[in-house]
Symmetry: none
Subunit: 190 residues, 4 copies
DNA sequence: GATGAATGAGATTTCATTCAT
DNA sequence: AATGAATGAAATCTCATTCAT
């Protein structure tokens, strides 16, 4: 019944978030999903493929959301704010997922082949900043690739702070973080 | 002869950098150091302890350097610039070390006990920003903890870009990155 | 449609020949037959039963052919020649089948219960040789069981040479092999 | 103490002989040798490598013995007799070893890379027969490769008969088999 | 201090087989 | 008859760690 594949996928997110990818056995995922562990192999082929799938499907959704922001054609600082909102609000929607992405995927030595997809996010941010330079919102001498890196880094570190329990993460804190990022880079890159 | 302990320690940094902590076997470290792997246990006690030692000794040096900056009593934006310089220049000095710290330690689920030491760096940055607010360099409504997180995140992401080969890292690029971080946060936090 | 059971049986021969019994998964058989693997169980009950069936049905046909030779009542050397012809020509008819019988069945530790059926072939050969002794074609002090073993071994090894690609196997080579076996044992056992 | 590698090697022969290669677990070998199974990997690297080693080391010894026969320069039929003696007496010396070689190695699909070494034995037999043709002991129109195959097949099948318990194998039977092979091919190939 | 043989817990993965549909 | 999702026993292999020398 239902969709066992999706069931396993979301159980994997929980399990990876709870114990970390390496410490998490395939049987932990299966147990969490309430299925036999053979089924994980039936649907995903390997433990690593589960992580990869989680990453790819999630990341694509985020890339789509960012692209939608770009297409609105609003001023660059507003676009940066919206991207910050998208990234940071994901935390509220699915903290376990963020935990996994932040801890296991982003700088994993194993998933270096995913770098291409990760860098698409940087590229989108760089495009936004480039447009900001063109419209005069940002300084002309800015290296947009580098600026994109700083923005992305600031966002990811805030997420990490939440993941690690080092920063408060109430709804109000999330909103405040969003404003802080927006303001800092609106001024900082101007 | 010489100092076998130091020999093993630096071999470990190379080995962890090359293959990642998990994929790296104790025998890889020993081989790289040119000793029998039993000796790794003689000096460090466990594989995890090697990583911990690498982290702790390095991190302490960085904390000391940051504290020295604080004690000079210069204006906050200048202190931020100097911290950026310290962090980014480490890359030039020892890329393998940075690779290991960035990939394995900072958000490792295993080394969560090191979080205390990691957060000392955030605390130092937060103190600097707090002082910037007092002296009028930074806006008064800033959450200094959050601001410190953004600065640290920007720095670490630039390092990551270098580690992952996504950003150019010539001496000139390193200097430019340092200036970009300094300028962005001097303005952005003002 | 058609006869799915026969379809699966012949797909199994191909699959076993290609990958070997152990390396061959039930799904390989099913795939080769173009059916779902559940159907293999419907018709045969188990993977081992498929191999057993292949063996038994084939072997019986060969035993029947040999018995027909016996019943003709020709001189023993001529009977040996005809048995050689039967065994060796099977290769031309169905090399995959020979491959499976030679590699998987004959000395499989699992199918030791089939030994009874295998030894019927030896027994037939031994009877022919025994009659050869009676009629004076073969030496009287011959151990017919041992002689039958030698004849059978020579035949199987020639098949093996073909299976393994170590001996040439054109039609002419097959005919030459048949003559060589006949001549060697006609003289050798005399 | 003692030579653990040799200990494991001979335990493997016993274990493979008893249960067959596939049905035999690595831990069976280790248990038989009285060591932890990790040690099997320490010395051999994999289960397959154990079988390969057993084969290669044994086979080489047999090739050496056959070569020694060749070098004596005796008449070809006598050389054939001596080769038969070498091959058949192995059964008395180490039945388990023969069991493994006959059942697992000779026509294993996995060890097809060993074929080169197996065919060296055929080549030696073919050389002997070729010399027999030159010296007039064997008929000139003989295909020596094919004849070698028959001799080898006869020998292997006799071993198989002993392995499978289908032929009597007392010392006297072994001696009789040796004489039967020698006589059959001395006459049969003449 | 130094070595590496020896250990064995534990993880991944395979795949024959079952069974609901 | 036909399918293939679901199961889980079982096997291989890895590798951190111990310890006798």
């Amino acid at each position: 019944m239902e969709d066992k594949r999706a069931l396993i996928r979301s159980a994997a997110v929980r399990a990876f978030a709870r114990k970390g990818y390496h410490a998490c056995r395939v049987s932990d995922i299966a147990e969490d999903a309430g299925v036999a562990y053979g089924l994980v192999y039936h649907y995903f082929g390997s433990k690593e493929a589960v992580l990869e799938t989680v990453f790819r499907e999630t990341w694509q959704a985020m890339l789509d959301a960012i692209q939608a922001v770009e297409e609105l054609g609003e001023p660059a600082p507003e676009q940066v704010r919206k991207v910050a909102a998208i990234v940071l609000r994901t935390w509220r929607n699915d903290p376990d997922l963020v935990r996994v992405l932040v801890r296991e995927v982003t700088r994993s030595p194993q998933l270096q082949n995913e770098i291409g997809e990760i860098s698409l996010a940087f590229a989108a941010l760089a495009r936004i900043i480039e447009r900001g330079k063109a419209e005069g919102s940002f300084r002309a001498d800015l290296d947009s690739r580098l600026a994109a890196t700083m923005v992305y880094g600031a966002l990811e570190e805030i997420l990490t702070g939440w993941v690690m329990g080092q920063l408060p993460d109430s709804d109000e804190d999330v909103a405040a973080a969003e404003r802080a990022v927006a303001a800092t880079f609106a001024n900082g890159l101007a």
